[in-house]
């Protein structure tokens, strides 16, 4: 992939917001709505965009990306829906347990790594679980412009079918829901067959589902350009390691439960980022010297770049070994 455009400042511009509503949707998912503290309208966003929410968790800064799922035409509020991950690193637990209505928070301007291709004649959405969120905004957008779409939404159970009622009552003929506990599954091959030329398919969900859709579509002769996906990776814990940042001339320690990018930021070094989930390419960093093994987890670098040992995406990737020197 080509290099991402570099920005002068790390991350997107920020917006100071207040939590205006917290709406529990089921056992795992809660919607958080934000209004601007300065009273101005929110910047318009394109459906599929995400925002990075800054969380101050007892002095530890957490920055998690969430898809904006409110109506893109509504500039009075932004909304995200957060699935509680009890095994995760704590960002979603912080949102669920610590955030209260009226709290002041900071979020970033929207960034879209999962846009609709508006040249498409028809848009087929495939959602798995909380992967429904970007499609809420996309559906609102297409409904307004009269675009053709259909949604195939796989959920664990009726009780965990986030937004199922809202979607099926508003769009009974366009929304198809599949429940795992009833052994229902998206009949992907049948679904891909017979779609009109110019159809685009979008998938958001677990990694296995994304790979399944890309693979099946390719085997059915769909061009890559017509298959879109988004998966934010959460950084995984790993063995602590030491890194030398040669431009900043410091040696830093990356802890078990923090990402390399977070460790760089904690040590006061400004590093570029946008999605913090291995997708956008902003944090791409040159490796000056390495004696050890990289654990590459991003979707940005290609296989050759991963094998070269010359680049790393510090938001999700780690290192095990003796020496690592980065050009940062």
């Amino acid at each position: 992939m080509s290099a991402a455009p570099q920005k002068a400042k790390a991350g997107a511009e920020k917006i100071e917001v207040e939590v205006s509503a917290i709406v529990p949707l089921n056992d795992l998912v809660t919607r958080f709505e934000f209004t601007r503290r300065d009273g101005l309208p929110f910047p318009p966003f394109s459906a599929g965009a995400h925002t990075v929410v800054e969380m101050n968790d007892d002095g530890r800064t957490r920055l998690n990306p969430y898809s904006l799922m409110s109506d893109p035409a509504d500039s009075s509020k932004y909304a995200i829906s957060v699935r509680r991950d009890d095994e995760g690193r704590g960002g979603s637990l912080f949102m669920h347990r610590k955030v209260k209505v009226g709290d002041a928070m900071t979020i970033t301007y929207p960034v879209n790594l999962f846009p609709l291709d508006l040249r498409g004649r028809k848009h087929v959405f495939l959602a798995g679980g909380i992967g429904i969120t970007p499609f809420m905004a996309m559906i609102a957008h297409l409904e307004r412009m009269g675009g053709a779409w259909e949604l195939h939404y796989a959920c664990r159970s009726e009780a965990l079918g986030t937004y199922v009622d809202e979607l099926t009552s508003r769009h009974p003929n366009k929304v198809h829901v599949y429940y795992d506990d009833k052994k229902q599954a998206i009949a992907l091959e049948d679904l891909l067959d017979g779609q009109p030329l110019g159809t685009h398919v979008y998938v958001c969900g677990p990694q296995g589902m994304i790979q399944w859709v890309h693979k099946t579509a390719a085997a059915h002769g769909w061009p890559d350009e017509n298959v879109h996906s988004e998966e934010f990776l959460a950084p995984q814990p790993g063995k602590p390691f030491e890194v030398r940042l040669c431009k900043s001339d410091i040696v830093i320690q990356v802890g078990e439960h923090e990402s390399l990018l977070e460790a760089i930021e904690r040590c006061g070094v400004e590093a570029p980022f946008l999605c913090r989930g291995g997708a956008c390419g902003q944090c791409e960093t040159d490796v000056v010297e390495a004696d050890g093994e990289f654990i590459h987890r991003d979707h940005w670098l290609d296989d050759d770049e991963h094998a070269s040992g010359k680049k790393i995406m510090p938001c999700v990737s780690r290192f095990v070994g003796k020496t690592l020197v980065l050009d940062r």
Partner: protein
């Protein structure tokens, strides 16, 4: 030999590849003249795709040279047309009935590939997913930037616009939308001072 290696040029100039069999539910193949050789080479790689293939072939000056050999590939449908213009209704109909999973293969002259690519793009296929392979004549489809008329099969530079009669310089500047290269008046500053026409790539 029907292959010609175009010299490197500006970014606007189309670059053609080599046809390869790709997985798909249906295969639309549009070829003119020596483009038939590229289809025969494609069949040598994987003859099975022709079971679901629709070949639209415009022999131009090659006449019957390739027709029987193409027919022998046993495509699901085989159409031979006198000109591209005569075939375009059929191409549009095939594309309007087609579904995702259609693979498009274009081969032959630049004018044929450009115009057929345009039809496929209009039908909703991204241009980057359409395979092309140049074979045969290096003649160009040129648009006069002054009168907007299109002159087909231009073989010399400069050439005379078949619509307005201006003497036009052959540029590599290409329009995907028009499927034509741009021809610009060669003697605008000094009317009548027209260089001797030279055959393209000679």
């Amino acid at each position: 030999m029907s292959k010609f290696q175009f010299p490197e040029s500006i970014r606007s100039r189309p670059v053609y590849g080599t046809l390869e069999p790709r997985p798909g539910k249906a295969h639309l193949m549009i070829a003119d003249a020596e483009g038939a050789e590229a289809l025969l080479d494609l069949a040598a790689q994987d003859a099975s795709i022709f079971r679901a293939a629709h070949i639209i072939y415009i022999p131009k000056a090659t006449g019957e040279t390739y027709v029987d050999r193409l027919k022998a590939l046993e495509p699901a449908q085989f159409y031979v047309g006198p000109t591209y213009e005569a075939s375009v209704q059929r191409i549009r109909r095939v594309l309007s009935d087609a579904h995702m999973g259609l693979q498009v293969y274009l081969t032959g002259t630049e004018g044929l590939m450009g115009q057929a690519q345009n039809e496929a793009m209009t039908a909703g296929i991204p241009h980057s997913a359409i395979q092309t392979e140049h074979r045969g004549s290096v003649a160009r489809r040129m648009q006069c930037v002054h009168c907007k008329g299109i002159t087909e099969d231009v073989m010399t530079d400069p050439f005379v616009c078949s619509h307005c009669g201006l003497n036009l310089f052959v540029r590599d500047h290409y329009s995907r939308r028009l499927a034509a290269f741009q021809g610009v008046r060669v003697d605008a500053e000094d009317p009548g001072n027209v260089p001797e026409p030279v055959e393209l790539y000679k």
